[in-house]
Amino acid sequence: MNSNLEEYLQQLNRDLRRCFWIGKNRRRRILLETEDHLLEAAQRETENGEHGPQQRAIAKFGASNEVVEAFAETNKRRLLAALGLSTGGVSGITALMSAGVVVHTLRTLADPWLVISVNLLLAGFIVVQGTATIVHLVSGIGRERVLFLGAIVLFGLGLFVTVKSSYNAWTGPDPEYWVVMLGLLVTTQATGTLLRVGQWEWRRNLGCPHTGSSS
């Protein structure tokens, strides 16, 4: 293969690897399709008697970072839509589970109206946050990788604490409702962080980080 094409494909591979939203299989497919395209385009340019057929084929294909950005946008929307739906779904289930546990733990501490109010507040907050996350992540999308991944980890941790402590509180003789509350707090805050990341990225009109390459 011509060294120009090889260089371009290597650069494209590097840019694809740097992009968080494009997985290994998708990367391999993009590289194969690009290679096939460039070889055929260069061949046509040669047949037409053009000078520098490889360079012309590459120029028409576009800068590698721009191509990666276009792919990133496609994949990011799909992945985050799925993530948003999962987050919202899990939030809803958590809200339902915790509602029962909160009733159980607060029953002995306060009057019924307080119990109902706290329940509605907590469950509503989680459901609203989860739903908002779906809406914003489907229409927006996140680039702040560290914060995004941190929020995912926090969400998982909070969920684990909530579910585990809820189970213990439900089955154990001495419910530790504060642990349930802590888990709920962490889960909702993580969901809120995911929502904020989605909002920021929506405003910024996202893409993959610019790699600085234009080969």
Binding site: R26, R29, I30, L32, E33, T34, E35, D36, H37, L39, E40, A41, K60, F61, G62, A63, S64, E66, V67, A70, F71, E73, T74, R78
Partner: protein
């Protein structure tokens, strides 16, 4: 302006027969009398997106000793294309009517 209609144009290009990426771009260029000049690499994300939405399907073939991904339109793709065509006809008719109207 072209960007907003690229999915419809790609669907319409693939509708008559299965094509690989390069052929899709050449057909787009030819049918538009070379009016549509866009970075060729940006057409592939559109093909992938249409496939993810199940409007296109694709499979690997071998041509000239190279692996090549060939795209074909699905039944859902044909329905979506028919819908787009109807909307486009109504839109262009309305624009023509307004632009051709005498004050």
């Amino acid at each position: 302006m072209l960007k907003g209609h690229l999915e419809m144009l790609v669907l319409a290009t693939v509708a008559p027969q299965p094509l690989h990426g390069y052929a899709v771009i050449q057909a787009l260029c030819r049918h538009s009398k070379e009016l549509f000049e866009l970075p060729e690499g940006t057409v592939y994300p559109v093909l992938h997106r249409l496939e993810q939405r199940r409007l296109l399907a694709s499979q690997w073939t071998v041509a000239a000793g190279r692996r090549r991904r060939v795209y074909r339109i699905t039944a859902s793709g044909r329905k979506a294309l028919a819908k787009h065509r109807g909307e486009w006809k109504a839109f262009t008719a309305a624009v023509s009517s307004v632009l051709g109207a005498r004050a």
